[in-house]
């Protein structure tokens, strides 16, 4: 790896001015489990690295029934798997974090890093979008909030402006049941070939609300709106579930790569979505 300058600001304003000073050319490092790999492989060259782990403003994990969850960007995956709050109110997030990477990586890797890295396969993106997450971004132009669903713009790309960072994620109080199913050849340590998050609010047999979000099958985590429409307001018969699953498989635009062929990914969208909905039923 090439040598670089390393800064470790302790306040948000210090961090923001450091980032501004380097014209947004500085690389921010949280857990480093994505960034350092890229730097070592020479895929990302940066002379300046700003460590954001000491910024207490990016750390929080609080919940109340009226406002829901506030999740600091620095929350680690391990914390997600261990937090009683998460376990009680958003068990799908605990489950998702649990099937990511390994215990060692999980204790370094952060939620913010997973989202800002903006891999189409980022495991936390689909369940968080399905849970209607909002993200708070802070930068030279001040703070702004937007739906996580609008955050991603392409592989490795997001709406983050130079010098802007992700501060926290907000989730409304949980509605319905959420599940995230990940398809990968091995039990752990794999990047998702396909990820499917589904959130369903049932009233008796009828689906009142549905969210379907797909990972690793489009340039960004994809909201499968047509599939959601097939489910919303309907009785969830096997036929309807299958129709929603098949529709989601058509909505996505997977590619062939070393992790899987496009046809197979579509098929897995269908299988996992069907299984996800049925397991909530």
């Amino acid at each position: 790896m090439r040598p670089f300058n390393h800064f470790s600001p302790t306040t948000l304003s210090e961090a923001l001015s450091l980032l501004a000073e380097h014209n947004g050319k500085a690389a921010m490092i949280a857990g480093g489990t994505d960034l350092l790999l890229k730097m070592k492989a020479g895929l990302r060259k940066s002379d300046v690295v700003v460590n954001i782990k000491r910024l207490s403003d990016l750390r929080c994990l609080t919940f109340d029934a009226a406002n829901g969850l506030k999740l600091g960007a620095l929350t680690t995956l391990r914390e997600l798997t261990r937090s009683p709050i998460i376990f009680e109110h958003y068990p799908a997030l605990a489950h998702t974090a649990h099937i990511m990477a390994s215990e060692q990586i999980r204790s370094l890797a952060t939620v913010g890093g997973n989202l800002c890295n903006a891999a189409p396969s980022a495991d936390l993106a689909p369940p968080l979008i399905a849970l209607d997450a909002l993200v708070s971004l802070i930068g030279p132009a001040g703070e702004r909030q937007l739906p996580l669903a609008d955050f991603f713009t392409g592989p490795g790309k997001s709406v983050l402006q130079p010098g802007e960072l992700l501060k926290e994620i907000t989730l409304p109080p949980p509605v319905g049941q959420t599940i995230y199913l990940k398809h990968s050849p091995r039990a752990y340590m794999d990047i998702a070939v396909v990820g499917v998050a589904v959130r369903i609010l049932l009233e008796g047999d009828v689906c009142r609300e549905a969210r379907v979000v797909l990972g690793a099958v489009a340039p960004v985590p994809l909201c499968a709106h047509q599939s959601e429409e097939i489910l919303a307001g309907q009785t969830l018969t096997d036929k309807r579930i299958l129709q929603a699953a098949k529709t989601a498989a058509q909505e996505c635009s997977p590619i062939d790569d070393v992790r899987g062929a496009a046809w197979y990914r579509r098929r897995m969208v269908e299988v996992l979505l069907k299984r996800g909905i049925k397991s909530i039923q």
Binding site: M1, R2, P3, A41, P91, A92, H95, Q177, I179, Y180, L181, H183, P185, R186, A187, Y188, M189, D190, I191, V258, R259, G260, A261, Y264, R267, M268, V271, R275, G276, S279, I280
Partner: protein, 782 residues
């Protein structure tokens, strides 16, 4: 052979180096640091086939911290390698792993930076990436200097019996094609070497090689210096599995660098480099036909293999010898024809990897066996037992099988098959989120898409050395000193397989010494006697016999002196637990230490120094017919895999792997289990997840994220069953087991998948995508 009172062999003795390795105290190649040591990096070709028109190293040379830059202009004039087709640096690149230049700098990052400052002007040449393409009319020659003027390196042809007769006698015939992929060792420790020249122009090389003495010779050839100027010091090895069986260009490159700068140079591969510039197990395309009579007797096997050996010849090109052995001699087959064409391409080089051709050939032979059994409506185990190799027989290929527990192995794993049904009723079969949602493990009842199956496969492997070179020998000396300390100096090499411990057990047992008094020296060519290297599951058998002979020699010297001290005859003595005692009068006793000291403290004294050389009674195979007894003993094994197949995703989960191995005698049962389990882990990866994806000569997944090794979380329950047959020539009856653990695994799993869902998998690895495609294909045709 056994010394009745001592209890060292047959015991579960922990590995002597276990605590040093577990606590990080062992000195691996990557840990070697010498005063004034510099760091080398290598620039590889940008094109899979190209002429280097011009190379400008001036900017790199001028970078601060850079000591020198080497190119093909610095090559000695000699070609090296098994095919004598390789050089340190290339003026014509034949693959993307070809070394174009090398930089030495004060640290690896500067060296790396300097590589970027080298400008190379290439003239790309047409490249070929498939053996078929390479053999096509008008294909460009990869080594135009070769006399044959063809990309065919070698075509192996073997036959016994009369194929037509076999076909005539067959009631069923099965025909199938197979594809097995590139896989690689993925050693935890990447390749590394440290080279240093002294003022006498003698080279010392710290190395992770498996063949110190052959490397000495290979290097002397590559560098044009005498082998006696080369000393190889072997560090603790963080994984070898066959990787260290050849000389690779980075080794002479490190030596050239060290010589040029007059300082020690370290060359350590990055993980990426380990994947791209290291050797791989060769991919094979296979066509098989095989038949049997309605009574279940095998009639013939006809096999054609096409091997991609890559741009240079390494040991990958010799694996057909083993594929041929499996084809001709695994089970009794009266009529066999085998052909393997080894072809140059512009792909990566292929080398030796645990099993050496056997995992490939056992995959097709044992899945064909299953199909024959099915066609004959015979139980797959009964069918196998009916045709199994038997003790004290000679195969038509000339293998002389003495001890043989093949039937016992098959029966042992079959006896475990029924447990599966019990298992199935209660065991979790899926770890999907549903089990989280319903908060209890899923069983097959919950999930109609999960299908269970079991499958069997057997294996035959050399277990008493393998005469690949004119000598298959190993030397050993045993020295006994004051305090009764015993030093075994063995030619053999420890690569994590536990040979040190097993050899120390053999020596302690034979001498009657205490295990804790034995030290093993095995890492320095200036000290240890000659040995061929660690390969072919040979160390326990060959080095074990050598150590045994050396210990016997030392014991007779001890007894000679002890007899004088005890006023008895040497024949009346026995030794145990560090003491020599008169058999019939146990009160008369001296310690081994006393005996040794008394030799030192007398006029005309002597050291106790036993010597042993063992070269097994085997032959090189005939160079035209490939027949002959290559090994002094053969190991056998069988596995039963129990799998669950998800019919909607194609994902295969292995629940249990039951492995039985005939090891003759388990000198250390724990070490045997370690070999079986470790082998199984590699076999499982080969079966299900591992594949180097290569396109146009380029590896698409050169990292541990997408080259998927089987992890601990994926491992099934493994049951190891040790079958003992007391081999007549093995040390204490032992035979080799180092490679067998993973050899039948892919076939056992493929057969289990068929049992579960009725599809025959013919391509490895059996990824979810391939299994699902096969299931969909089957549904279409139904």
């Amino acid at each position: 052979m056994t010394n009745p009172s001592a209890q060292i062999i047959g015991q579960r003795v922990p590995k002597m180096d276990a605590s040093a390795k577990a606590t990080g105290k062992a000195t691996y190649g990557h840990d070697v640091r010498l005063p004034g040591m510099l760091h080398g990096r290598i620039l590889y070709s940008r094109y899979p086939h190209a002429k280097i028109v011009n190379i400008d190293i001036s900017r790199a040379k001028n970078l601060r911290g850079v000591k020198c830059v080497l190119t093909s202009a610095d090559n000695p004039s000699h070609l090296f390698g098994y095919g004598k087709d390789n050089r340190p640096f290339k003026a014509i690149a034949r693959s993307l792993r070809d070394e174009i230049a090398g930089v030495v700098a004060i640290d690896p990052d500067i060296a790396e930076e300097a590589l970027e400052l080298i400008t190379v002007e290439y003239e790309p040449l047409p490249a070929i990436f498939s053996p078929k393409g390479a053999l096509a009319e008008g294909a460009p020659l990869i080594h135009p200097e070769r006399k044959s003027q063809s990309n065919m390196f070698h075509s192996y042809r073997y036959a016994h019996g009369e194929l037509e007769q076999g076909e005539r006698e067959s009631d069923v015939v099965i025909e199938a094609s197979y594809t097995v992929p590139y896989v690689t060792h993925a050693c935890m420790e990447t390749s590394v070497v440290v080279a240093q020249f002294d003022l006498r122009d003698h080279l010392t090389l710290w190395s992770t090689t498996q063949i110190p003495f052959l490397l000495q010779r290979d290097l002397s050839e590559a560098l044009g210096i005498s082998g006696s100027q080369i000393r190889i010091i072997q560090t603790a090895v963080g994984g070898a599995f066959g990787r260290g069986l050849d000389i690779y260009p980075y080794e002479p490159i490190a030596a050239l660098m060290a010589r040029k700068v007059g300082q020690p140079v370290r060359l350590a591969f990055s993980r990426h480099e380990e994947f791209t510039a290291g050797p791989a197990r060769q991919p094979v395309e296979v066509k098989v036909r095989a038949g049997a009579k309605s009574d279940g007797t095998l009639t013939f096997r006809d096999v054609f293999c096409m091997l991609d050996v890559g741009a240079y010849i390494s040991w990958g090109s010799v694996t057909p010898l083993v594929m041929m052995e499996t084809t001709a001699s695994l089970y009794q087959v009266p009529h066999v024809r085998f052909q393997a064409d080894c072809v140059y391409t512009n792909n990566l080089i292929t080398g030796a990897m645990r099993g050496y051709g056997n995992p490939q050939s056992t995959f097709f032979v044992e899945t064909i066996m299953d199909r024959l059994a099915e066609a004959l409506r015979m139980d797959p185990v009964e069918f196998r037992v009916h045709n199994a190799n038997v003790p004290n027989s000679e195969t038509p290929q000339g293998l002389i099988i003495t001890s043989c527990g093949m039937k016992e192995c098959l029966e042992a794993v079959a006896a475990n098959a029924d447990e599966g049904a019990k298992h199935n009723a209660s065991a979790p079969v899926s770890n999907t989120a549903r089990s989280v949602a319903v908060n209890r493990p899923l069983t097959a009842k919950d999930s109609p898409h999960l299908k269970r199956g079991i499958g069997f496969a057997a294996t035959l492997n050399v277990g008493g050395g393998a005469r690949i070179y004119r000598s298959d020998g190993c030397g050993a000396t045993v020295k006994v000193d004051d305090f009764g300390h015993v030093t075994l100096i063995t030619g053999s090499t420890e690569i994590g397989q536990g040979s040190e411990t097993v050899l120390a057990q053999i020596v302690a047992q034979t001498l009657g010494a205490k295990m804790e008094d034995v030290t093993v020296l095995n890492s320095d060519t200036d000290i240890k006697p000659w040995d061929v290297g660690v390969h072919a599951s040979r160390t326990t058998f060959i080095a074990g016999n050598a150590a045994y002979l050396a210990a016997l020699d030392a014991r007779s010297q001890i007894f000679e002196t002890a007899a004088e001290l005890l006023k008895a005859k040497p024949e009346e003595l026995l030794s145990n637990n560090g003491s020599v005692t008169v058999k019939d009068d146990p009160k008369r006793s001296v310690t081994i230490a006393q005996a040794a000291r008394s030799r030192h403290f007398k006029e005309g004294g002597k050291v106790i120094l036993g010597e042993g050389w063992y070269d097994p009674p085997t032959k090189l195979v005939d160079k035209d017919t490939y027949k002959g007894n290559i090994s002094a003993a053969y190991g056998f094994g069988a596995q039963m895999a129990e799998v669950v197949v998800d019919t909607e995703t194609g994902k295969v989960r292995v629940l249990r792997l039951v492995c039985a191995n005939d090891v003759g005698f388990a000198i250390n049962p724990m070490a045997v289990e370690g070999q079986i389990e470790g082998g199984a882990q590699m076999g499982l990866g080969y079966a299900l997840t591992e594949e180097l994806l290569v396109k146009n000569g380029k590896i698409l997944n050169p990292d541990l994220l997408d080259y998927r090794l089987f992890t601990s979380a994926d491992m099934p329950e493994i049951k190891s069953i040790i079958v003992e047959t007391d081999d007549p020539k093995g040390p204490f009856g032992a035979k080799g087991v180092g490679e067998m653990g993973g050899t039948p695994t892919a076939a056992a799993i493929a057969n289990a998948i068929y049992d579960a869902v009725g599809v025959r998998m013919t391509q490895l690895p059996m990824t979810p995508e391939r299994v699902l495609a096969a299931i969909m294909e089957k549904e279409k045709t139904e």
